[in-house]
Symmetry: C2
Subunit: 522 residues, 2 copies
């Protein structure tokens, strides 16, 4: 998508004094050139990381870490070089002389840099060392089911992230400051209200689900069996390409933990196949394709600038969840793919459509967030949000975390983990120092339901088209209403502009009620 503002003329104003005879427009051009230069170095860094997760031979790990460290330090030095910071400050002072499009770039770059430079070099270094150590400790703690081994690292990470927040904005709530890194404009109070509403709204849905499940013990899925990897690779590629992911500017590979990474417009998805269960690879691929279709949207000319960068973590997740859940678990989606499954997997040639649709929509409270169904998923997020807020403000100690986890799990999901591995040690986020990250997953689900409802109203016969394999109208609608804005709008403003409503939980709750209606009907 072309960003129509990119080549717009800046509004003319009386020139101010320019010590070096450089106009604001020329300064802005210098900013863009420098951002793109830094972005290209950043792309090299992304490739080092992508390669490490997908192809790198094991013996290269140590040197790879050094390569990444060297390049990361260099990019950081360039982003915080005094001349660059001065350029950004000068432009920010003259922001009213810039076109509205250029002003977005200056505003967002300055916002990011103001956070960065507020942190002293010592704090940046201490954080990155602690994160690396804590992540390594998490890997072994999880393997050994040993929460006590991780606890001291979590303790230190929460202390350090309080310091980070304090350094950035001493007058503001620490959680708000950390949250804003992931979701611009969001606040703890706002998230609290939203998740409270969501929790209240989910209660009757979960009650309906539980009542339904009493008569329906788990059954073997029609998508379980034996599905050779090569056939899965071909099928997943076909699905992802049909949805709208452009393989001329992207790839689909495999890694232990699926992810999406952009290497300068070259967008790479990874997935993880299970030969015994087709759903594992397929829904991972579609989830990542949602991220990837978003990443492929940006005009190459804006890559590396805020207008060529995704809006927020929550909006990014809305794209992955929209495709993975709302689209890929729908009746219409499987109307198209059901007759095609047998072409790739002969054992599925005669499978029943009804059994297929049911198996991709089964729901049941479970312990592991990343394996949770759409109905119970958000309860995992609410639990984590409450716990991380309490740990950050000190009202919950790290030592008391496992018990608090068990208590909330029982309250929200009705089940409790029998091991730390299935409980408090399941996610890497806190051990990575990511506080204020989990809520963006719930925001993604909320936004996705809102976006889908708006798209349904605006696109003629959206579902009928999907049942015929026509995904382009939905991609185009997302291009126009979500993707093309880059960071021009806040997440809140973007959702409001796209859907006519501010972020709200109603559409998600209605969508989940309809899911239970469906489950009850079969």
């Amino acid at each position: 998508m072309k960003n129509p503002d990119l080549d717009a003329e800046p509004r003319k104003r009386k020139p101010r004094s320019k010590p070096r005879g450089e106009s604001t427009e020329q300064r802005y051009a210098r900013l863009i050139a420098e951002l793109r230069r830094q972005f290209r170095l950043g792309s090299a860094l992304q490739l080092l990381e992508w390669d490490q997760e997908t192809l790198m031979p094991a013996g290269a790990l140590h040197e790879r870490a050094q390569q990444i460290g060297t390049l990361a330090v260099l990019v950081h030095e360039q982003q915080t070089a005094p001349a660059f910071l001065a350029l950004v400050d000068e432009l920010a002072a003259d922001i009213d002389q810039l076109s509205s499009a250029a002003a977005v770039d200056v505003r967002e770059v300055k916002r990011h840099l103001d956070r960065e430079r507020a942190l002293g070099t010592d704090l940046v270094r201490a954080r990155s060392v602690l994160q690396a150590e804590a992540r390594a400790a998490w890997v072994s703690a999880r393997r050994e089911n040993d929460f006590a081994a991780l606890a001291p690292y979590l303790e230190q990470l929460f202390i350090l992230q309080r310091e980070v927040a304090q350094a950035i904005a001493p007058e503001r709530d620490a959680y708000d400051v950390l949250l804003e890194e992931h979701e611009r404009g969001a606040t703890r109070a706002g998230i609290e209200r939203t998740l409270q509403e969501l929790r209240d709204g989910l209660l009757p849905i979960i009650q309906r689900l539980s009542a339904h499940l009493e008569g329906h013990p788990p059954a073997v899925s029609v998508l379980c069996g034996h599905f050779p990897l090569d056939a899965q690779r071909r099928f997943n590629r076909r699905v992802v390409e049909t949805l709208g992911f452009d393989f001329n500017r992207g790839r689909l590979d495999e890694s232990a933990h699926p992810f999406t990474i952009g290497i300068g417009g070259d967008v790479r998805l990874t997935t993880r196949y299970d030969e015994r269960d087709l759903r594992c690879g397929l829904f991972s691929s579609i989830h990542e394709a949602g991220h990837g279709i978003y990443e492929q949207a940006f005009d190459p000319a804006t890559l590396g600038t805020p207008r060529g960068t995704a809006c927020s973590f929550g909006v990014h997740e809305s794209q992955s969840r929209l495709w993975e859940n709302v689209v890929a678990r729908s009746d219409a989606f499987w109307r198209y793919w059901h007759p095609r499954l047998g072409e790739s997997f002969p054992s599925l040639a005669g499978c029943s459509f009804d059994a297929l649709l049911l198996t991709v929509n089964e729901a049941r409270p479970s312990l592991i967030r990343v394996e949770a169904d759409e109905i119970t998923y958000n309860l995992h997020i609410i639990l984590r949000f409450e716990l991380e807020c309490a740990m950050l403000d000190g009202s919950l100690t790290i030592d008391a975390l496992p018990d608090a986890w068990t208590e909330l799990s029982d309250r929200y999901l009705g089940i409790v983990p029998q091991s730390h591995r299935d409980g408090v040690l399941q996610d890497v986020h806190w051990a990575s120092g990511d506080i204020g990250y989990f809520p963006t997953y719930a925001l993604g689900n909320i936004y996705a339901a809102q976006l889908w409802r708006a798209a349904e109203l605006e696109i003629d016969s959206l579902e009928n088209g999907i049942a015929r394999g026509e995904f382009r109208p939905l991609v185009n609608w997302l291009r126009e209403n979500v993707h093309r804005h880059g960071q021009s709008l806040t997440p809140h403003a973007l959702i409001e502009a796209a859907t006519g409503e501010p972020p709200c939980v109603g559409p998600l709750l209605e969508y989940l009620h309809r899911k239970v209606d469906y489950l009850e009907s079969v």
Copy 2:
């Protein structure tokens, strides 16, 4: 291999004045740290290039070129930063205070940097632009068989490379200066003598071959047929691993033009398969494995320093040619692999050993260098060396090049190309500005024959071992006698130390006579 000198104590000397209170040893430590930092950035550059040739989606080409350009400029800036140059100069002035191992690093880094800084920024930029344009022009000129389209670029490249040589060492022969970039210590006069001897020695061998060929028209090879790619991939990996390539620190992938690249001790080979001819992929893989086994030899602690870098292009090529030709076309090699071929390729289960050995040793004058057999290969090099010398000194104009090519091809090979594509447009080297590169291919063949003869004398039952699949003794011998030296020795000194003789053509000529003996005997 550990380089035993690495941790050696520097020889003690009376300290000289050190304005910043820094000892020579401390300065040297700073040099090494900076070299390794630059090397790690260079590794990121290598990965960008490797990925471009193997996996990158086509639509990413433009941005990838920008990424590579940005990082290359940055590495060049760091290599020529005044503070870094001053450090190298200071160490060079105090070189007698360093251990002999450290002195190698300082000497070679200074040699390289003295060349780099002699070139003004304008010349560096002009060269890199012209090279990029000329390579693109070569691709289309070759496709269109249109020499006139490339001629103006070649004209400019030879003028520019004369300027480069002039800037580096105005008092020296231009060809010598360009040659030294690829083969330290080599001179045009020395190469001329060597290639003259080689040409004279090849004449009777070619005559014998021609006489033999009169009664032996080309036959269909037993290695032609249908060999599925996946089976070839598995077989090639097995062969390369058996030779001694370490897949814990390397990979084998595919690209249009096979190559080997090191990404900081992680060494990646590529090959190119032909489903109809097993030889194509196999000999490419083994050739690249020869390069790769060399690249994997360096102590990780010396990576990025001259002692952890290959000696020269000629010595590098000696490794690839030794494995590809001397080893992998030998009777002993196929004694081991013949009974194993059928495990990967059922159609070869009953193939005759004699037919197999013959088909990997067939020789016949041909037009394309990269497809030439061992016996005629060096004539292709002699032809190119004579032509590039004449073009550089102006005695041959670019316009007259195609006719001169035809004349030499007729004289040396007895055949003439019917198109420029099969003649003067077949190689990219000149269009890349690489003058003084071709001779290193012949040097590689010469060194390989010398090294093999020395190894045969020093390793007990070398060929019997190979017939049992024991390649480790040869790898170890190369580690000890070639690899571990890095750039401590010149190519000349290295070959003399390894073989007891300076570089000489005798062993290669004897080896090729034996090849004709064999062909005559079957």
